[in-house]
Point group: C2
Chain length 335, copies 2
């Protein structure tokens, strides 16, 4: 392995000069720089990251805990998110280090350890839960982090975050359904305790009211879990009401797929008789027919902002709310 020393000898300068050629080229005289650069290329020198990190105590690695969901449920857009995260990290010379940890406070010793052993500089959190304890803990330990997702139901946000405006996304879906002639739009949600669900539900309610559409409690169903079956059940309820819905905004693609299934079972045509939208634009959206209209999160932008906030010092705003956008497909607009 070629070291600075060897390059220095080859270029007939001191070791520090070679280091400067890489880290502070403006310090070198033009001809020296060129000579050193030539030696670097000739010898195919690559700086040893461990030595550098030891000296500077910055590893340029960002920890990301790979989420594991209960009972075999999987993270449908993880590959997109991770790809975006990697690309964003690499654009600033960093990389992503994966690890696993138990959920909640139990996992914090893992975070602590990774940071203390200097395997990572900081963390990107995702799958943020309502009352998520990780954020406060990390803040207290002064371990750098940034969160994808606000911590709901806390008075103050314990640290920087990037989030997608779920309320705006759902409002957009409602307006889209209204524009295509729907006048009674239901909302299929998660449990009431979920802050994320509350936010999105709020967006649906606000848009309905602004458009003069009903936004009553009968038009919202809170599902126990994010499953097809629950989506089916919720849809049945919305269709069996005194005044059945002609549009459904679901809080997830999975629940939306449940809605489509129930429509099919009843011989109702999705997109024609009843319009349906989902959330996340996961791979599921395009495997059904008609394909599912869904709200897509801007993953590249999210990843860039996350890694930006992780480094930026406090003066800059540390909260960024990004706009999702609606991907319209056959389930809401046939043809």
């Amino acid at each position: 392995m070629v070291t600075l020393k060897q390059v220095a000898a080859h270029a007939e300068v001191s070791v520090q000069t070679v280091s400067n050629a890489l880290n502070a080229p403006y310090r070198l005289r033009a001809d020296t720089l060129q000579r050193v650069t030539r030696s670097i290329e000739l010898l195919n020198y690559r700086p040893n990251r461990n030595a550098r990190s030891l000296r500077t105590s910055a590893v340029e690695l960002v920890g990301y805990c790979v989420p594991s969901w209960p009972n075999g449920r999987s993270h449908l857009v993880m590959d997109v998110f991770l790809h975006a995260l990697c690309t964003a990290a690499e654009s600033t010379g960093r990389h992503i280090l994966l690890f696993t940890a138990p959920a909640g406070l139990d996992g914090m010793s893992v975070y602590d350890d990774l940071h203390a052993r200097r395997l990572v500089d900081g963390f990107v959190l995702s799958q943020t839960q309502t009352h998520d304890p990780r954020h406060g803990w990390l803040k207290e330990q002064e371990i750098p982090f940034v969160s994808f997702g606000r911590v709901w139901k806390e008075t103050t946000q314990p640290g920087p975050w990037v989030d997608v405006d779920g309320a705006a996304g759902c409002a957009t879906a409602v307006r889209h359904l209204h524009e295509t002639g729907r006048r009674r739009i239901g909302f299929i949600s998660w449990p009431r305790t979920s802050g994320l669900a509350g936010n999105r539900l709020g967006g649906w309610r606000k848009a309905c009211r602004e458009l003069g559409l009903p936004a009553t409690a009968q038009l919202t169903v809170h599902c126990k879990e994010d499953s097809i079956e629950e989506g089916v059940r919720a849809t049945a309820r919305l269709l069996d009401a005194d005044q059945p819905v002609d549009g459904i905004v679901a809080i997830s693609d999975v629940l939306a797929l449940g809605a489509l299934r129930e429509l099919n079972r009843r011989g109702l045509r999705p997109g024609v008789d009843v319009a349906v939208t989902g959330f996340d634009d996961s791979p599921l959206a395009t495997v059904v027919s008609p394909a599912l209209t869904s709200i897509r999160q801007p993953m590249d932008e999210i990843a860039t902002e996350l890694l930006d906030l992780l480094t930026s010092s406090t003066p800059a705003p540390t909260e960024r709310l990004l706009q999702p956008h609606l991907v319209i497909r056959g389930s809401s607009a046939p043809g």
Copy 2:
């Protein structure tokens, strides 16, 4: 940050003794060990990984290139695979470092760089392509790696690999369909050029012959790409043949979903009129109704073997073929 030096001072021993307490405790007298251990715990000392790596030139990090697929297609089981990989790595004190790289030879400079800068010790390759150039290149550079997936259509395997016996998986699917009364089983495949497809097709053919079932060219369809639409088209062909099939083994869940869609369109009941199986047991398998029977790869085992082979020196066998297993659902066995 607490260092060895401080622990040494606290325990009133030399720095090296503390190092030994962690890396070679058998060298210490019992009482010394206990005293040092107590100091370590008291001061909450964590060894600095960068310093250690600098000295030993082993970083305990394994690089994994996050796959990006053409035209927005996504890797449906990536979260499961990555979770397994992380867990396996952590069980031996290692971690996974993610990165992105262009496909094929163009990306090799990225691999080279990561290794030369000592960011990783080696690589786990996946999405192995027929004639994949990465393996040979890495071998030539003497960069440690292990491959998930054999390199098809090469005379010798350029390095250690772990793979799933796709032929056996498809044969199992065929036997399962035979047991449930199917007598004319089609195979929906990828392009002829794919070695992986050839392997799985071979499994189907062999099982059919052994059971006395037809395995003619009319019973196989080679799709251009892995899409629902191609699955639909292929299924139409299998159903429109002089002697229509009563069972379909598809080489992927996506193609299988195409099959289900075409059956539904024709009013044929999946699992009753025609049985269908997929491959990978992706999240797609459980969002359709009836749910899709699918061949699941043993991800935990794969991950463990991969990381095992990456470290093990040459004497041990460097090729491991693992058995997948069939997850039976309604698309092949109603009720």
